[in-house]
Point group: C3
Chain length 290, copies 3
Amino acid sequence: MDVLTVLNLGDIAQAFSKMGMFPVFDLAYYIVSILYLKYEPGSVEVSRRSPVASWLCAMLYCFGSYILADIMLGHSPVDYFQHNSHILLASAVWYLIFYCPLNLFYKCVAFLPVKLVLVALKEVVRTRKIAAGVHHAHHAYHHGLFIMVIVGYVKGSGVALMSNFEQLLRGVWRPETNEILNMSFPTKASLYGAILFALQEAHWLPVSKSVLILAFTLFMATSKVVMTARHSHGSPFALVESWVCHLLFGSPLGASEDDHHHASAAPASPLKTKEELSEGARKRKVKKAE
Amino acid sequence: MDVLTVLNLGDIAQAFSKMGMFPVFDLAYYIVSILYLKYEPGSVEVSRRSPVASWLCAMLYCFGSYILADIMLGHSPVDYFQHNSHILLASAVWYLIFYCPLNLFYKCVAFLPVKLVLVALKEVVRTRKIAAGVHHAHHAYHHGLFIMVIVGYVKGSGVALMSNFEQLLRGVWRPETNEILNMSFPTKASLYGAILFALQEAHWLPVSKSVLILAFTLFMATSKVVMTARHSHGSPFALVESWVCHLLFGSPLGASEDDHHHASAAPASPLKTKEELSEGARKRKVKKAE
Amino acid sequence: MDVLTVLNLGDIAQAFSKMGMFPVFDLAYYIVSILYLKYEPGSVEVSRRSPVASWLCAMLYCFGSYILADIMLGHSPVDYFQHNSHILLASAVWYLIFYCPLNLFYKCVAFLPVKLVLVALKEVVRTRKIAAGVHHAHHAYHHGLFIMVIVGYVKGSGVALMSNFEQLLRGVWRPETNEILNMSFPTKASLYGAILFALQEAHWLPVSKSVLILAFTLFMATSKVVMTARHSHGSPFALVESWVCHLLFGSPLGASEDDHHHASAAPASPLKTKEELSEGARKRKVKKAE
């Protein structure tokens, strides 16, 4: 009976890790990503004034992870743009979200139940990207554990890691913060995920890759869905991190991410990162801008 | 009779598209480019304080298109610097424009009739660069239509697309604007040219490449010569663009590029882009700086 | 007798140029580099708030020269991170300098006699890096004299050339200055060294590479040790440079680097570059920050 369960779990994980991402999952990824772009203050004005800049930002939001990973591995940063169908699909989503009459498409996909499904699907793609990034790096550098972690990390975090330069494209410059200084939950989870997948790839983690993909996907999807539904940005890692940072790096104990902000000398912008702003405030901003 | 005309046109276009660019046309390109660098406020002080920074900026102005295209295709960004004779020629032009006794060389090449000829020659090089960029990208990615457009675009626009970072090298930082947000005429024309050449390369445009090169060169040279002679920066695309943007992207109709600027929330710098400043104002600035 | 001396010198130079750098010399390089990072204002706070950002900065300080050289030659920027032992050693140094109880490790290595030895060892590594960079570029571009100089230069200067972006990682943005506009002594010496090694590689300098390595190492180590011991940042090149710049580029004669600063319109930050600040001021800052 037990053996059967294990076999079944292995089979399910295997099937899940072989499932194609295009077009359904990728579509969800593009929609949620460009939705976050529209939440960014000023992005609607940019879409009116300079469609080219807006389109480029949308492409960075959708394909930033591929661009960064290609740069890290010394390939052409526009390598992924050879997949015309992906680019066209993302462009269509961009057009519908920013220019659809009556803002209809935006209202549909930003409707909470729809959005929760899309967010869950997006996390499936994120996990697969981390695994693929680590695998790709392992192929290029067999013993390069650090390179595997770095490539998996940029594959999972995507545009967040280059948010300063993405904002610059829209004429916004906020040098006092960046995604490395103030990591949001998806960036942190990508880092931990990349470490796990790199350890698995180096055979230091006694678990098959497909099971790891399934487990990590479930964790990410659950976390993000719960956080989106509750308009929260508290991290499930907070408690463990607080203790580990206190022991290893002498950080003051019990200080939440927010307390760090208050303590920091830099005049932190009130809008921290695109994924940390509460839904309500975002929607009001977007509505006001239109 | 008609067939003969067509043949002759084809022959002329063929001969024109095979004509070597080095050294005459390239020289004109370097002179006009470094002239624009000297028009930039503060560049003369930089040339006195830090010749290395000034030389690097001059190289970015002359070879920025090669650097960007090499980055886009994943090659070494300094690949073009293996052509020692080109670098030496550009360096000589830089030295003469910035340090020639009595400012003699600058006065000669900035003299309007001379400058008009040089500007026309520069556009010949620009068109050839776009065509070469698209061809090069087509060679690397046979079906990568987007990549062809991107590489042709950066080959045509050159340093303009990295103007924020070129300015940073001179200690100037203007994050509120960039060449993508406020495209100047050459940048826009490079984008449209890159699209045309990419369509031609993909056999979607029923015209031979040499004829397209000839036609686009004539259009660019005429436009830029007229604009330089009239100290104007109005774009010949303005009317069509205004309608298309209104229909596709809901931009307010009849709003010229300048109105967009006024409407923008960002405190736009009074100097927009290096190619948009009227000649008179520029010369006064340069004279004052010396 | 004379022949014997020459032979001996040649032998010594040969042996010296073949000496392995790992781990002793590399360790000294990492220690001095991360020491300079700790001197940077705000870096201690960053190490408490965001260990990941602090670690990344430390890696840029230790391996910036490899990253830049790999970018210049079109390789993967994280290529060097495949050497796990080097990364682990540098990470251990970073941990000890920033988080060692009672700040014990920092106090040991910042103790002047110890530091002078480490600084001398660091210059040995710097010279070897310049030579290796030029050699590497020569291998890729046989006649690319400019490329050899550029690659040797970035190999010698390392993180200094990307200091604006390294600071950005820590939330600091000082666009009004950069290492090219205001070169510190090590950056200038790296440029001159890269030119010498490139000329040697092109057989225009009638001296063997090992002798050049020995001579340049002795010059660099002596200069840096004297400068560190005297808390000075005057450059031994100042007099010659002043005359050459006056003759070639019309710079005002006798103006020291500092006078240039005062004359510059940009509101120069009181802290110029990480290697130009006097030791006393640095230590006070670091102590205050803890």
